[in-house]
Every structure is written in C-alpha cells, then in structure tokens.
Amino acid sequence: MSFDFPLLSLIIWLPIVFGIVVFATGNDRNSQLARWISLVGSVLGLLVAIPLYTNFDATTGTMQFIENHVWFERFNVNYHLGVDGISMPLILLNCFITPLVIVAGWEVIKERVSQYMGAFLIMSGIVNGVFASLDAILFYVFWEASLIPMFLIIGIWGGPNRVYAAIKFFLYTLLGSLLMLIAFIYLYLTSGGSFSIEDYHKLPIPLTPQILIFVAFLLAFAVKVPMWPVHTWLPDAHVEAPTGGSVVLAAILLKLGGYGFLRFSLPITPDASHYLATMMIVLSLIAVVYIGLIALMQVDMKKLIAYSSVAHMGFVTLGFFLLNAYGIEGAMVQMISHGFISGAMFLCVGVLYDRLHSRQIADYGGVVNKMPIFAAFFMLFAMANAGLPGTSGFVGEFMVIMSAMKVNFWYAFLAATTLIFGAAYTLWMYKRVIFGTIASPAVEGLKDISKREFVLLAILAISVLWIGVYPYPLTEVMHTTVDQLLAHVSNSKL
C-alpha cells in the first residue's frame, strides 16, 4: 500500500527530539517541567504509532511504510526503514511501555530527573529505529546506540553495586555485537556492496560461511535475549537497575535479541538454522528447566524475576527454532506478553522497594494485610507469570508447547515443566512476600498503592487479560509475515 508520510521516521525521532528537549530543562529546579515534557513526548510517541497499526496491511508479508534515502553513497549505506508483521507489534509494544516507564519514575526519581526521563525517551526512539531499520549499518548503529542510555540508567540511578552491573551489561552485549558487524561486512562484500537486509535475505551463501555467519549473529542475539549460558549479566543488571530501567530492560531490550533471530539468523542463514536447530532447541530447553530451578532458590525478588525472564525468553528461542508456524507465532506472542508481564512484575517489586527499600523476600511477609489492592494486582501478574490460561502468559507458552510436540515429544515434555517450575517459583515468592501475618514493623507501616501506581498496574492488567482472552488480533497481524518467513526458511540458499 502507499503511505507517503514518513511515519516511521516520526516514530523514531519524535521521542529522541523530546528527549533532547527534556535534557535542555537542565538541573533539578525544573524537574516538574522535565516530567511533564517527558510524559507528553512519550504519549505523543504512542499516539503517532497508532496509525502504524490502523494502516497496517496484514494481508501482505512485504515491508510497509518504507522510507529509503541515501545516507553514505560511497558505501551504499541507506537510511532505509520499513516494517512487517514481525517488527510492527514490537514497535507498538515499545511505544506503549515508554509512557508507563515515565510515569513509574514520576515521584520515585528525585535526582537528575531531566536526564533520567530524557534517557528513556531517547532509548525509546533508538529501539524503534532498531525494529524499523532495513539497512544493516543503520540497524547496527541503532543497536549499539541502545546500549548507551541503559548503561547510564543503570550506572547513575542504580543500586549500590551499579558500576559492576553496568559494565558487565555493557561489555557482555558489546562483545556479542562486534562479531555481528564482521558478519555484516562479509555480507556486504559477498553481496557485491549492499547493506540492504532484504538483499541479504535473497543472497545465496554456501553452508560453511552460513554457519559462521549464524554463529556471529548468535553471539550478538543470544547475549541480548539472553540465552543460557550467556545470561548471567541479566540478573546483575536487573538487581542494580532502577525500576524503570528493569522494566525497559525486560520488556523491550530483551526483545531486540529475539527480533534479531527473526530478521537476520533465520532468513539470511536458513540452512545453518536448520543445521544448528537442535543445538538451539537444547540451549533453549536448558534455559527453561535449569533457569526455572535456579529461580526457585532466589532470595532477591528482582533476581527471581530476572531469572524467570530468562526462562520465559527460553520459550521464545525454542519457538523460533522449532521452525513451524505455531512455534514462531507463539514465540512472537510470548515476546509481547513477556513485555507486559515482566514489566508489571518489576513495577510491582518497584512499588514495594519504594516503600521499604529492600528487595529481599525475607524482609517482607503479610503485605496483603496492608496493601490489599496491590496484592490483587500482584496476584494477577504472578499468575500470568506462571502461565495461567486467560492471561497473556499462557498463550505463547501454549503455542510453543504445541509446536514442540510436533517436533519431538521430549521437547514438549521439557518445555511443559514450566507449568510446574513457573508456578513454583512465582507462587512461593508470592506466598512469602504477600501472604501471612505482618512480618515486621516496616510492613506494618506500608501504604497501599497510590492513584498513579494504580493506573499503571491497571493498564498492564488489562493488556495481560486482553491478550489472554482474545489473542486473535495480535496473531492476525503477524500471520502472513510469519508464513512467508517460514516459506523462505524452508528454501535452501546453498
């Protein structure tokens, strides 16, 4: 379809421009102004993303809303944007989460407000850029740029061990991405001087280079997802990050890795993907089982949720490499759903942390006596995290388990253990934190959630229930694209 207005550019640059304006409000004397500008910017960012959905043509798997301008003529680098059924829902998710994060930091962040809010806005724009880029170099620039705001958010507004966590986060992900750049350069040379991702999709490559390219991509994306065994940066980063940072990290940044697999690994190296699928499935299943067991034993709420994120993202990579429609769509749904649920879980922990300044499970107990409304929300999200039908958490896991059964009984068997482990670690934490008699004078003094927190959690609750009860519209937009991707992947490029 024709859509001449540069909508994608607007979606990318509007938050970034607002972020720069927020920076300009300067120091904390203008913090209220900074908050309001950020809120306006993020809400506008969401509003301009709505036409992306309403004008989206779900019947085609080709790129839409295309913008293509020359950037560096000499190296044939283009400012080339476009979305399909895979990237469009992720952009919407990102635009949806950003205002929530701004509101979540509203009263909580008191120092360097403008820089905090600005960083989130800029990150939002950058992440949209990652999802919309159709040029490898443009993609790479956005991809690496997204590290910087998060690095600062953890490093400046984080907890006591923030510097270690921030550097671990940065180095881990940076090292992963460098090989991706080398793979791009290789592809540039073999394709006769193109950085267009769509050209790469069509490029025939022998098996050995395919495997090498696949491995180079794998390192970049596996670290981001994160897959076992390169996941250990995530618990540290989450523990130290401020609430908003954790929300964006879990809800958005992890999805970059998953998106990478769909946009690069599968279509560019389909034969290598088939060749190494078993390895990918095994790594994913290790994430589900091994990480599920580790999550059970965590004493820090944020660490527990971080580990549970790794286990849930294991379903995403599992779904991709089962290489059938159930699996890939299930993994997509799981990514979106995980964005809501993990975001909500981290917000819930943030609500408690803001009051008691502790993330230790042992410091809580009997919170429901003082915060019944909060407990009800937390219950819903905990159940969603445990994959209860009727919540979004079920949909993706269900589809991926169904998909796994088509491939191998034992894959499905191991994946389905999440029903038990997921419920065990989530509900055990819930029991120790929320239920029981009031554990300490600090808990006695707790106040139930404010209106601001109520609105945040209610919005997420509605989203979680909506996808759980009626996921049809969500899968409908990705249907054609996924079918086309699968058809593409099943053709050898040798």
Binding site: Y172, A295, A325, M383, P389, W410, A423, L427, Y470
Partner: protein, 646 residues
C-alpha cells in the same frame, strides 16, 4: 438460545466482577444479593436448557475465535448436550445453595465481599469447563477453577497452614496439568484440531498408530494420549498419588469445601474422562490404569477417614474415596454410572460438608469431634439432614448414594478389563469402611454425651435459616436423585454423548436385569454390599455409641497400623522430602555451582581476569621514558628493514 447459553457462565462472572471490584462500595448486603441473584438466573437458565436438551435440542457451536495459527483455528465454544446440561444444573444448584449458606457462615468475616466474588468466579469457571466444546477451553476452565480453589484455600491468608495448603494444592494440580497439556498437545498433533466432535470422529483412525518415546519401546498413541489426559484428571480429582492436596484444602472456609472440594471442581476429572469416552474406549491399557488407580484411592483413602478426628478431614477423606468410586466406574467403562455417582455425591457430600460447617459454627470453630457429642438435641435440622446424607453415603437402599454406588459395584463385577478383580475387591470392602466412618462421624458428633467445655455447651444452638435452608433443599435430591437411575444409567439418557464399546458394556448387562428402583432395592437385600453397609453402621454404633471404650483399646493394640493411617501412609513426608527438598537442593546446586562458580566465576570473570593480567604485563612496557620508546622504535625499524630487504 445461544444467548441463554452465554447467560449461564456470564451471569456469575458479572456477579464476581461486581462483588470483587465494587464490593467495598456497594457493601456486604448488596454484594451477596447481586451474586445470589445472578447465580439464581444461571440456575434457571440451566434448568431451562436441560429441558430443551431433553427435548432433543443439542447445540455445538463456537462463540468466538480465540486464535488462528498455522492452519488451526482455536475456538471458544459450547457443546450443550445431556452431559453438560446435567452438570450445569448440578453446578448451579449447589453453587446457589452455597451462596446462600455463605451469608450465615461468613457473616462477620472481613473478606465477605471477596468471598462472594470468588465463589461466583468459580461458578463461571466451572461452567466454562463443562460447557466447552473443545480441549482448549476445557483447559481454560480447568486451570481457572484451580486458580479459584487456590484463592479460596488461602482465603484466610494470615494462617500459615492455609497459605501452605493453597500453594501445595496449586502445585500438585500443576503436576496433573503438566500431563494434561501434553495430552492435549498430542491430540492436536495427531488430529490437527482440538474440537471434541472432530477429534472423536477421527479417533478410530489412529488406533494403530504407534509412537517411540524411548528407543526400543513403542506405545500406542491413543494409550499415551489417554494416560496423559488421565494424569490431569488425577490431579484435579485427587486420585492417588496426586491426592495429597485435597485433605489440606480443608484449610479453606467450609462453604468452599462443599462447593469446590466435594461437589463440583474435584469431579471435573471424572467429567472430563466421561466426556472423552470415545478416546478412552479405544485404549484398554488406559482403562486398566484408571481402574487400578481408582481402586487404590477408594480403598486406602477410606481407611484413613476412619482414624481422623477433625470432622472436615473425615469428610475430605470420604470425598477422596468416593472420587475413587467414580474413577473405578470410568475404568469399567460405566461412564454414566460415574456421572450418576458424581451427581448423587454432589448432593449428599454437599450436605455433609455444609452440615459439618453448621456444627463448626455452633462449636465456635472447633473441628475436633472428640470435643463434640450430643449435638442432636441442640441442632435437629443439621442432625437430620446430615443423617440422611450419611445414609446416602453409606449406600442404604432408597437413598441416592445406594443406587449410584450399587450400579458401580455391579458394573465392576461384570467388567473384563485387566485390574477389574482388584478394583472389585476395593469397591466392595470400601462399602463397609464407608458406612463405618460416616456413622462414626454421626455418632461422635451428635450422639452420646457432650464433651465440649461448659462455655461452648451453654451457647449451643441451631444455625440460622440461611444455613439450614440449603441443607434442607439439598437433602431432597440426597434422597431422591437416585430414583432416576433407570433412564440415566441404564436407559438411553447419555446415548449420544457417551460412547461405550460393546465388549466393555457392563451396564448393558445390568440394564437388562433392571426392573425399576423397587426391584433394585429388593434385589440388594440379597447382595453383599447391603450387608456390608449394615455391618458398617452397626460397627460404628457399637464402637462409638455403645462401647466407646473399645476404640481406644484397638488403637493401643494396633499402634503401627494406627500410626500409618494417622500419618496418611507418610506420603506427605515422602513428597516434601523427595520432591520439595530435592528440587530445592537441585536449584541451589545449579545456582551456586552452575551460574556463580562456572559461568560467572570461570568464564565471565575469568575472561576479565585474563584481560587484566595481560594488561598488567603489557603495562610494564609503557614506562613513560622517551629513551625506552626511542630504543624500541629503532629496534623495530631495524627488524622491518631487515625483513623488507631480504
């Protein structure tokens, strides 16, 4: 008509939302009025639908498309036939009675509105479960009733035992659901749809399909599917070895013990297997497993009930044992007998639980029967309704339980599936045990001398009408529901719904001999179950009314056996050591060694250390002295020149 179908689940859902979200604004009275009215509407609609179904109007259609993926459509839809319509009436009737009863039982509880919201939500979930026309929605309802059960067991969330019990219930059920979901996945894989009708018509085509799970060992796919689905039923319907959650669930308020943990939710597994009869009939191995599991549960759980002193726990173990009866009936292909026992059990067990609750109110929340006794004269309505329910439970001719249980025992007798002999032994001897523990409860609670303290005794009185009315109403079907055995079990009531292979059809043989309920009762007088039941009642009277000194002596003589029963065969201890402890130990090990030592310690920080070490060595060369650099440069130039020149 479709709108009426929608009304049945949606009315209680609306009630749940109103009481749950706005309960604090509309207050307790309007909360219970709203929810009761809406459940009543649901009951009326269910009755109307049942009548419509009896006229032959069966409905199978979808409400909306949940998801489309690949080439599969997942629908949310209803299948309204004799089976679901019967279940709808039972569920909404018991639910309505429990709603009314709750007004009395929970009247001073601070969580009053929340409670009404939960039980209405439960009614909605249970309706979605029984009305479903596909496996997916069945699983939705299945897990949703599990959620509500979790919320209600932990209703009094400050009690450590309650919040332990609810987590245990959820997790044990999740183990069952694990199997259930894999079963569903296999169904989807082999049939390409989750729609009941489509699956059942295709089922005979895959009878010979095999699957190799471990190299060298092949399974029939249909057997694997049925056993996995049955694992789900074992969790929900609390069959050995997944029964451990049900006795602990008594930590919840009594109305929900009656509604969820006796009458409706725990029978979901039975309902499911009956619904899947076209699948289960194809696998004799699965039926054998069901028979044996059911037999074990029937017999061993009944024995435990004999030594319990907590009035609710007696009823809880009795529920386990009765669920075992239903399971045995399923295994013997007597699906309609299982559903019939499910129905009669729902009524008499609800009366027993609600009666127990009435006693507990009178006793100021004392549940130990050793501190009761002689309550008969204080609470006549509770006594007489419970007495009727006890007669039904013990299987005395004329009462509902007699007909359903007798049909099961006879059907097992005629069954020729491997394991039927064992199951027959279990269901037959358990008749005696059932009569014994049920009347032990009656005699210990209502007869003899009052053993309560003076204060409690001076306040003893019958419960208010909101409590006794449901008892009286439910006592009617407790007596009379059994009289419909002719059409329901032996007749063609379930003909289009339940499929039984001719060679399994034990009920067919029974039906041929059936001459009416009068004849069945007369015939019973000459059979073993009747005399076992009488012997049980007599033994209970002798031990717990006439010679109350004897039980103590027996207990002293049979110490180890008594302990084994009192500790419930030490299964809880075993599980908490093996599964809970084992999982935690494994989790700790993976965390401390796998993540912290190997991945982070060796690899991640190891890389950092290597870099740091290298840097420390290389740093020595950066001395900052010009002459060092100049010297290095000259050496370098020489080396390059040498290489270049030669």
């Amino acid at each position: 008509m479709q709108n009426l179908y929608l009304l049945v689940p949606l009315a209680p859902l609306i009630g749940a939302l109103i009481a749950g979200l706005f309960g604090r604004f509309i207050g307790p009275v309007w909360s219970h009025r709203t929810t009761i009215l809406l459940v009543f509407i649901s009951l009326l609609a269910s009755i109307f639908i049942l009548q419509d179904v009896l006229e032959g109007n069966i409905y199978n259609g979808s409400v909306y498309t949940w998801l489309v993926t690949g080439d599969t459509r997942f629908e949310i839809g209803f299948l309204i036939d004799q089976l679901s319509a019967t279940m709808m009436v039972v569920v909404s009737l018991v639910s309505l009675m429990v709603h009314i009863y709750t007004i009395g039982y929970m009247h001073d509880d601070p969580g009053y509105q929340r409670f009404f919201s939960y039980i209405s939500l439960f009614t909605f979930s249970m309706m979605m479960l029984v009305m479903s026309n596909n496996f997916l929605q069945l699983f939705f309802g299945w897990e949703a009733v599990g959620l509500v059960s979790y919320l209600l067991i932990g209703f009094w969330y400050t009690r450590p035992t309650a919040i332990y019990a609810n987590m245990k219930a959820f997790l044990v059920n999740r183990v069952g659901d694990f199997g259930f979901l894999l079963g569903i996945a296999l169904v989807l894989m082999y049939f390409g749809t989750l729609d009941y009708a489509a699956v059942f018509t295709q089922a005979p085509e895959i009878v010979d399909e095999k699957i190799e799970l471990v190299p060298g060992i092949t399974w029939l796919v249909i057997t694997l599917i049925c056993i996995l689905l049955f694992i789900g039923a074992m969790g929900k319907s609390a069959q050995f070895p997944l029964h451990v959650w049900l006795p602990d669930s008594m930590e919840g308020p009594t109305p929900i013990s009656a509604l969820i943990h006796a009458a409706t939710m725990v029978t979901a597994g039975i309902f499911m297997v009956a619904r899947m009869s076209p699948l289960f009939e194809l696998s004799e191995t699965a039926l054998s497993v069901i028979l044996i599991i059911g037999g074990i549960t029937t017999f061993f759980m009944a024995l435990v009930a004999v030594v319990q002193n907590d009035i609710k726990r007696v009823v809880a173990y009795s529920t386990l044992s009765q669920l075992g009866y239903m399971t045995v009936a399923l295994g013997a292909s007597a699906y309609s007998a299982a559903i019939f026992h499910l129905m009669t059990h729902a009524f008499f067990k609800a009366v027993l639980f609600l009666g127990a609750g009435s006693v507990i109110i009178a006793m100021h929340h004392e549940q130990n029967m050793q501190k009761m006794g002689g309550l008969k004269s204080y609470m006549p309505i509770t006594y007489w309704t419970m007495f009727i329910a006890a007669l039904a439970s013990a299987g005395v001719p004329g009462f509902s339980g007699f007909f359903s249980k007798d049909a099961i025992i006879e059907a097992v007798y005629f069954a020729n599936i491997p394991g039927a002999g064992f199951a027959y032994f279990c269901v037959l001897t358990t008749v005696f045990i059932t009569a014994l523990y049920t009347f032990r409860l009656i005699f210990m609670t209502f007869h003899g001398q009052g053993r309560m303290d003076v204060h409690t005794k001076s306040h003893l009185h019958e419960s208010p009408w909101v409590v006794t009315l449901p008892l009286v109403i439910l006592a009617i079907p407790t007596i009379a529901a059994g009289w419909f055995i002719g059409p329901i079990v032996f007749g063609d009531y379930f003909n289009n719904v339940i499929y039984v292979m001719p060679q399994h059809d034990a009920l067919e043989k029974l039906g041929a001999e059936f001459t009416g309920i009068g004849g069945m009762m007369v015939h019973a007088l000459s059979t073993a179950p009747f005399w076992l039941s009488v012997a049980g009642i007599f033994t209970a009277w002798y031990l717990y009314n006439a010679r109350t000194d004897i039980p103590g002596k027996i207990k002293a003589r049979c110490g180890p056996l008594y302990n084994l029963l009192d500790r419930k065969y030490y299964i809880d201890e075993l599980y908490s050591w093996l599964f809970a402890g084992g999982t935690r130990a494994l989790g700790t090990m993976l965390w401390k060694y796998g993540d912290i030592k190997v991945i982070d310690g060796f690899f991640v920080n190891g890389v950092a250390r290597v870099v740091a070490l290298t840097a420390a060595v290389v740093r020595r060369y950066q001395t900052g002295y010009i002459y060092h650099y100049a010297f290095t440069m000259i050496v370098g130039v020489f080396v390059i020149l040498t290489l270049w020149l030669y």
